[in-house]
């Protein structure tokens, strides 16, 4: 069955509905299971598309920039440069077709031979040089590619499938204090793996397996790819960073996540110890289940509190009027910045907990809240009105305040 409002749900999650209509759709969402599942699916898709990784290193990017500046500075002319690029692409596409078409080596050779024979027959009457030329042209084309900086920058690009290898290379974003981040990540992953091992011994399977996955991914792939680990642990749900500009912030967040993971693992340990080592297996299982339920309930109420606080913060941020009195404006924002930083830490922990519980609506809500919190926390002391407007605009587009309010209402309804 399809509800007629599904398209409006799509508009709602894009923040493209005027406020009265948005609240009507939100009310409808509470009543219509079809639209609820559409919203969940749309948000899931959004996160999967947004999380598509950028795999480029800063070095290759700088080289590309140099090439562009040189191409236009040296008077090459736009038309020449574009024509050259088009020609290059044509050559490459032919190579791509060979690479993509999954030929066996024998098949490739046979195809080349066939082409050689056809060309040979065509030129037989005039000359027998054609097939030879075909063979000798190939390396020449390669040389040409090697000389061009584009080909070099392609070589810098990590192999598309080799995640582990790509973790060792710098990402598309320049790292500031990258070494520190790596060390922090490595330390966190070490702590995690030891805690995870203890947790596993005490039957805290859920938490432990999550920790092991986190620890493994952090160990094997570095802090950046801890994200990938989280994706797997959430059963294919990819958490994400949405804006391209947010990648740098994501790295920062990942360090925070790695720090927060310590607390996470400790909490699981405590639960597991509460369950009692010497109890008979059934009782032990029941107690462990109880402990798990208690932990989940505690997590939910913590989330509800957090959501409420975040909502208050965003409302107060939205109402802040900057730049009319410079000094007052900066002190106003300073408060929001402090709150935002505090909530950010909480948000990261709670989002991970929601991911572990498989609570998609909460996870995606916190996920869309996170970049806004980061933005507010990172604002300069005297933010330009444009900065504030930009954040407000993004909040509006995501309908964030309304979403937070809905979530707060829902969790209040559950607790009664």
């Amino acid at each position: 069955m399809k509800c007629d409002w599904t398209q409006k749900v799509s508009l709602l999650i894009d923040g493209e509905l005027p406020p009265p209509e948005a609240s009507a759709v939100e009310t409808h969402l509470n009543l219509c299971a079809d639209c609820q599942s559409a919203r969940e699916d749309f948000l899931l898709l959004r996160r999967q598309i947004a999380v598509y990784p950028l795999e480029q290193d800063a070095f290759a990017r700088r080289r590309a920039l140099k090439r562009i500046l040189a191409a236009s500075g040296s008077g090459t002319g736009l038309e020449n440069a574009t024509a050259a690029a088009t020609a290059r692409r044509s050559r490459k596409t032919v190579a791509d077709v060979f690479a993509m078409s999954q030929f066996s080596p024998a098949g490739s050779i046979a195809l080349l031979l066939l082409i050689g024979v056809v060309v040979g027959i065509a030129f037989l009457s005039s000359s027998r040089r054609a097939p030879v030329e075909f063979v000798t042209h190939a390396p020449a084309a390669n040389d040409d590619n090697n000389n061009s900086s584009i080909a070099a920058s392609n070589a810098q690009t990590p192999a598309p499938d080799d995640l582990t290898a790509s973790a060792n290379k710098p990402d598309g974003v320049e790292r500031i204090g990258g070494d520190y981040q790596k060390r922090a990540g490595a330390q966190a992953s070490k702590d995690e793996s030891s805690r995870a091992a203890r947790g596993a011994g005490a039957n805290a399977q859920r938490g432990a397996s999550a920790n092991v996955q986190r620890a493994e991914s952090a160990n094997a792939q570095g802090v950046e790819n801890a994200n990938v680990g989280r994706v797997e642990s959430a059963g294919g749900r990819m958490p994400g960073s949405s804006t391209p500009a947010n990648l740098a912030r994501r790295q920062e967040v990942d360090v925070l996540v790695a720090e927060a993971a310590g607390n996470d693992a400790e909490a699981v340990d405590n639960d597991a110890t509460d369950a009692g080592d010497n109890a008979p297996p059934r009782r032990e299982a029941a107690e462990a289940k109880d402990a798990q339920q208690r932990a989940e309930a505690a997590g939910e109420s913590k989330t509800a509190r957090h959501v409420e606080q975040a909502q208050l913060l965003l409302r107060s941020f939205r109402n802040a009027r900057p730049a009319d009195a410079g000094r007052r404006a900066s002190s106003d924002i300073a408060y929001e910045k402090r709150r935002s930083r505090k909530l950010l830490y909480e948000n990261i922990v709670l989002r991970r907990e929601a991911a572990n519980r498989g609570n998609l609506p909460v996870e995606s809500l916190l996920d869309s809240l996170e970049p806004i919190l980061i933005d507010i926390a990172n604002l300069p002391d005297k933010p330009a009105p444009a900065d504030l407007r930009l954040i407000n605009e993004r909040m509006r587009r995501k309908n964030l305040v309304a979403m937070l309010q809905i979530s707060a209402v829902e969790s209040a309804a559950r607790s009664y």
Binding site: T6, Q7, S10, L11, D14, G15, E16, A38, D41, F42, L45, Q48, I49, A50, V51, Y52, L54, E55, Q56, R61, A64, L65, R67, I68, L69, S72, L78, A81, T82, A85, R88, R89, S90, K92, T93, V94, D96, V97, A99, S101, Q102, F103, S104, A106, G107, A110, L111, L114, I150, S153, N154, T157, P160, D161, G172, S242, T243, P244, A245, R397
Partner: protein
């Protein structure tokens, strides 16, 4: 006051990676990563030659996406013609069946997202990518793709619905194979 060259460099560092990603997804995933980078660079080259300051403030990003998408469309047209020809010949020679390990590896390598996106018509794919990855508003997307805002609404919604259905079928197939296994 920063020179135009500095402004251009800042803009390049800020938007080049996301432009590459947009083009890569538009052109069919990781296999197209090289070509995506080339087109992104050519688009920036065009911008540089045109002069960043000749565009109204805040417009340069959208201008870039517009140019890049036109390059990508050319590329897609050319490629479809070439691929048709080559695939006919290739089918004759495709004799080797990959081993299960190779198949698994290949499936792992293929990005799920890119696979799903490839099934959409180009205009829906472009609209959805600009919305979900670049977080442009509908009016901005309409500007980049040179279509009306109501068409953007419809395209984004249809793209989502199509992907949702395909995703659902995929999940069902996975569940069935699990039960059978």
């Amino acid at each position: 006051m920063a020179s135009e060259e500095d402004e251009f460099a800042v803009m390049f560092h800020e938007f080049y990676p996301s432009l590459c990603r947009f083009l890569e997804c538009l052109l069919g995933g990781r296999a197209a990563s090289g070509i995506a980078q080339e087109i992104a660079q050519d688009s920036f080259l065009q911008l540089h030659n045109k002069g960043l300051r000749t565009l109204p403030e805040g417009e340069a990003r959208f201008w870039l996406y517009r140019v890049a998408r036109n390059f990508a469309l050319n590329e897609l047209n050319k490629r479809s013609t070439r691929l048709r020809l080559f695939n006919r010949v290739a089918d004759v020679f495709r004799v080797r069946v990959p081993t299960p390990e190779e198949e698994f590896e290949m499936a792992e390598r293929k990005s799920l997202v890119a696979d799903m996106l490839r099934t959409l018509p180009e205009h829906q794919r472009a609209a959805l990518l600009l919305r979900e990855q670049e977080e442009l508003s509908y009016s901005e997307i309409a500007g980049v793709l040179d279509i009306s805002e109501s068409k953007v609404k419809v395209d984004v919604f249809r793209a989502r619905t199509a992907l949702r259905e395909r995703w659902g079928k995929r999940e069902q197939a996975a569940a069935r194979s699990k039960v059978a296994g």
